[in-house]
Amino acid sequence: MELFEIYLPVAGIHFNVLVLLLIGFTVGVCGGFFGIGGAWIVTPALNIFGFPMPYAIGTDLAHIGGKSIVSTIRHGKFGNVDVRLGVAMILGTTIGMELGANLVIKLEQMGLAEGLIRKMYIVFLGAIGSYVLYDYLTHTRRQRRVEAGLEVAPGGETVAQKLQRIKIPPMVHFQASGITCSMWLPVLVGLTTGIVAAVLGVGGGFIRMPALIYLIGCPTAVAVGTDLFEVMITGAYGAFTYGVKGRVELIAAMWMLFAAAIGAQLGTVAIKYVRGYAIRLLFAITIFVACSSVVLKQLEFQLASAITILVAGIGISLVIIAWLVKGIVDERGGRLPANHA
């Protein structure tokens, strides 16, 4: 294994290239499929293998910017990126993250930051995961009744539909999402998710992707693509700001990006063969895994927390790749996938 050891001069450590490629590939597949940056996998994984924490965060952010470009190019070709919606969200997210960062400083001054934030994170992830899972189960039950020819009660108006009815000018049509709503809706959703992301100290993909589905009303695949568009911008900014602080191990980021690009392409293409609700189910499971890792961290089981995340990340990537392979085989066998136009 020494053959694959390289010296990383910025972090001042020796590191195995195969580990970098494995982490990069795993996060690439998950990121391309769910529309998230994947800091929750990369940062603890790099850290347990010997990266000092500030370099783990900076290196992760740097490669996320590059990896999201790969996914966004492919999602764009699939018609899954709503650029106008993404720009409106970025506007709100930027202001929200600034407000959230100030809130964290206030909490720090009150001596509440560390414990409170972690507990909030657990509650938040648990709530999002539970809601997405509930939504999936309700949808599946309804589908089964329809298939069995049983009577199905008409579904009520969704939160997104209610919010879309608020007519505060300017009203904008978002073509890729197929929705018309007030411009203020994505700006305010971006603002709120930005505040929450900054307070919780995460990139925000975990929060924005479900917010795009349940608050704005995007189809799942468009939520994934549009979120990646935003991750691409914030990732590039993160790469710069951590680079200026001297906390990016560029050689490691380049190795990770190499594998992440392949993974991101596969994860993104897998979307084509999977229905929106299947993505939501796997997303809910992923959120529960992330939540349990934070619980382990809270209980001071640092190593168990990091290993849980890494193993779960690899497992989830394998499921996505299995779906991709099945989809390609079906397509080549003449059984066209449901998602194809």
Partner: protein, 103 residues
Amino acid sequence: MRRGHFLTWARAGVAALLSWALAAPALAAGGGKGASKLVNVADTRGLEPGLSRWIAGVYNESFWLFGLLTVAVMVGMGLILGLATDKAVGLLGINLGKISHHE
């Protein structure tokens, strides 16, 4: 005699300070939590001339330049790898046109 006594103490003091300065990083690395780097300088002594050494040189010269280099490399690699992997997936013979959104 008194001057000699003072010099002995001064020598001992300097020696103690020096040994503390030399041993502190090692002690920091050895006990408790993992040591963080005391100074943000990339160690290029053992590096052969090449990409790693050049990047470490930029890092040591200016963090601003290093920040710009980081963004340029990540964006450039993202674009090149994005287009290359896109072409590679196209070779699988699958339809990569627009998809309809079925929930």
